[in-house]
């Protein structure tokens, strides 16, 4: 069964003083997400990720196209009792405490008082908010707010969870916690759909991804397949190399940066890395580290889409008839 399906989902915004200019925020999006998947929506800022999520929850209305959540149309509110949404940079009621807020949200699902207490308590513990359960939300840090946001999303034990930039604003510890939450959901065969602009997050968690840019779907499938990610360069760090060694390595390296005693080289060709290592080891220069540098999402966009970038700018501001 498809957990999520979008069909030609489109959103135009009217801009300008006379509302005559049209900006296409989302262009005929077609997605299919299977139940039990962890699906990532990737794209740089402004690509249309948040627009997509808002459309799914009818916070904004589509210009054309439709979507189905768990097989039901978007107008069906009842299906939302099995679904969850964490908005980007969420804000909550200042005056309530964490417990009160979760209690309120839970009551919107019609859960009984005991059930509410149980679920709220569980999630507060799970997300490390136990110390702050009676603290008013206006005193929460950004990271705590984010965690509370996840808690309120999971309060009804949903089958399908939508997260908009769930890692945003979190420190490494927080990010790991979120990762674990998502993995736990996956274990319980829940479907997770989250958007991010950070590739590393998607890599560890997602089975499939969709890539958005300028409101258009650029590709959908396994991460490595569509992004053709390979190692872009290899970084070598040496300490105290002699001038001859450096001269030998120069032909293979694309950049050489000297910082005090340390020298950092970049070897673009993977096949050459072996060679350079042999040179280094023979010369007795001290090898500090060898790091494969993966291509980032930004590199991908800059390369694949960069060529048509200027035409994109024009195309995104047109007047469709």
């Amino acid at each position: 069964m498809l957990a999520l399906e979008t069909i030609e989902l489109t959103k135009d915004y009217r801009q300008g003083f006379w509302r005559n200019r049209v900006k296409r925020a989302l262009d005929r999006l077609n997605l299919r997400v299977e139940a039990g998947e962890v699906f990532g929506l990737l794209g740089p800022n402004g690509a249309g990720k948040t627009t997509t999520l808002k459309l799914l929850f009818r916070l904004i209305l589509p210009t054309s196209g439709t979507a189905r959540i768990l097989g039901k149309p978007l107008e069906d509110i009842a299906v939302r009792s099995r679904v969850a949404y964490l908005p980007e940079n969420p804000s909550f009621y200042e005056h309530l405490t964490a417990e009160e807020f979760l209690n309120y949200v839970a009551s919107l699902f019609g859960l009984s008082a005991t059930e509410r207490r149980r679920r709220a308590g569980e999630l507060i513990d799970q997300l490390g908010l136990s110390a702050s359960r009676h603290v008013p939300l206006r005193r929460f840090s950004k990271g705590m707010i984010q965690r509370l946001g996840i808690a309120q999303a999971l309060i009804n034990d949903p089958d399908l969870v939508f997260l908009d930039e769930p890692m945003s604003g979190l420190d490494p510890l927080g990010r790991r916690e979120v990762r674990e939450v998502i993995l736990r959901l996956k274990e319980r065969q829940k479907t997770v759909f989250f958007s991010t602009h950070i590739l590393a997050d998607a890599e560890t968690l997602c089975g499939r991804v969709a890539v958005l840019h300028h409101g258009r779907l650029q590709g959908c499938g396994e991460l490595n397949t569509i992004l053709c990610l390979g190692v872009s360069t290899t970084e070598l760090v040496l300490e105290g190399p002699s001038a001859e060694v450096l001269a030998e390595l120069m032909p293979y390296s694309s950049s050489l940066v000297r910082t005090g005693e340390r020298v950092r080289l970049e070897i673009p060709e993977e096949s050459q890395v072996q060679r350079t290592l042999e040179v280094i080891l023979r010369s007795r220069a001290k090898l500090i580290s060898v790091n494969p540098v993966r291509r980032s999402l930004e590199d991908y966009f800059l390369q694949k889409v960069g060529a048509s970038e200027s035409s994109q700018e024009v195309a995104s501001v047109y007047d469709p008839s």
Binding site: K72, P73, E75, D76, I77, A78, V79, S81, G110
Partner: protein, 300 residues
């Protein structure tokens, strides 16, 4: 929980229902409001006046907008007075307080003193029949606006016409004539009133002056009505004298004006100042035609 069929009820249907509800409610307001208006009558808004501690208090409350509030209250005066006139009422008990408050809010609102005094002084059902209150109002106006000679004109007028106090009237016209910009006839009026207060000729002079240089249509019409009444009164007196003469000369009472014309006492059938012919009643007295627009009652 709502079932899926309930939540799938077209948003369109809901919108139409909402519009219908909206329209029905707004339309339903009209009869309710009207029935309240009907019961409360023309005293609405004006009735509160009795309970306000004073106009000065209200002035302080109005936070600098007393001019606007004075205008609003003046509109209420007109509304109140008009409503009472339409209903042929003889009671205008809120008029005094309303005018008090209006002039407290804006002591320089001349129209309130001038028209207000007319509303107050005129005998019911044309007005409240309270000439003393009218005088008090005008005197307050004079204190606040000492250079306005018109207010003295109104004072003199009330003394002359409503109170028949000719010495006081003469004094008022005299005082007014000394103010800047006063017209010459004020002095003339002072003299005439002092000399021949009760005479119709003096009244006619007063009214014709007012009619001649009244800046306002209503004041002019009012003056002309009075003039016509005075002329009619004089004509009726003269006609009665003529008929008495005819009767004594001819030895028998005149049956109609035609007889007088035939006998040469009149050149033509007499008409009143509004152009409607006079009537000779069964008792041989001259009367106004009921259809005439002349109001002799003004002279009472």
């Amino acid at each position: 929980m709502t079932t899926s069929s309930e939540s799938l009820s077209q948003p369109r249907l809901r919108r139409h229902v909402c519009w219908l509800l909206l329209l029905l409610c707004l339309l339903g307001l009209i009869p309710i409001q009207r029935s309240i208006d009907l019961r409360r009558g023309s005293d609405r808004g004006a009735a509160d006046v009795l309970f306000l501690p004073s106009g000065k208090f209200l002035r302080q409350l109005s936070l600098g907008y007393e001019g606007l509030l004075a205008d609003i209250y003046w509109t209420r005066v007109v509304q109140y007075f008009g409503g009472k006139r339409l209903a042929h009422s003889t009671e205008f008990n809120l008029l005094g307080p309303l005018l008090q408050i209006t002039t407290d809010l804006d002591p320089h609102l001349l129209v309130a003193y001038r028209f207000g005094s007319i509303f107050l002084a005129e005998k019911p059902p044309r007005g409240a029949g309270q000439p003393l209150e009218a005088l008090a109002l005008l005197h307050r106006g004079i204190v606040a606006n000492p250079d306005r000679w018109r207010l003295w004109e109104d004072v003199g007028f009330i003394y002359y016409w409503d109170l028949k106090d000719y010495p006081a009237a003469a004094r008022a016209f005299q005082a007014g004539s000394e103010r800047p910009g006063a017209m010459v006839w004020m002095r003339v009026m002072a003299a005439k009133v002092a000399a021949q207060g009760g005479q119709l000729a003096t009244s006619r002079f007063l009214w014709s002056e007012i009619a001649r240089q009244a800046g306002n249509e209503q004041i002019r019409k009012n003056a002309e009505d009075h003039l016509m009444a005075i002329e009619a009164e004089e004509e009726i007196t003269k006609l009665n004298e003529l008929i008495a003469l005819y009767n004594s000369r001819q030895g028998r009472p005149a049956r109609s004006f035609q007889a007088l014309v035939v006998a040469g006492y009149l050149r033509a059938l007499p008409r009143d100042p509004s152009g409607v012919p006079y009537i000779l009643d069964a008792g041989g007295r001259v009367r106004l035609n009921p259809r005439s627009s002349v109001e002799l009652s003004l002279l009472e």
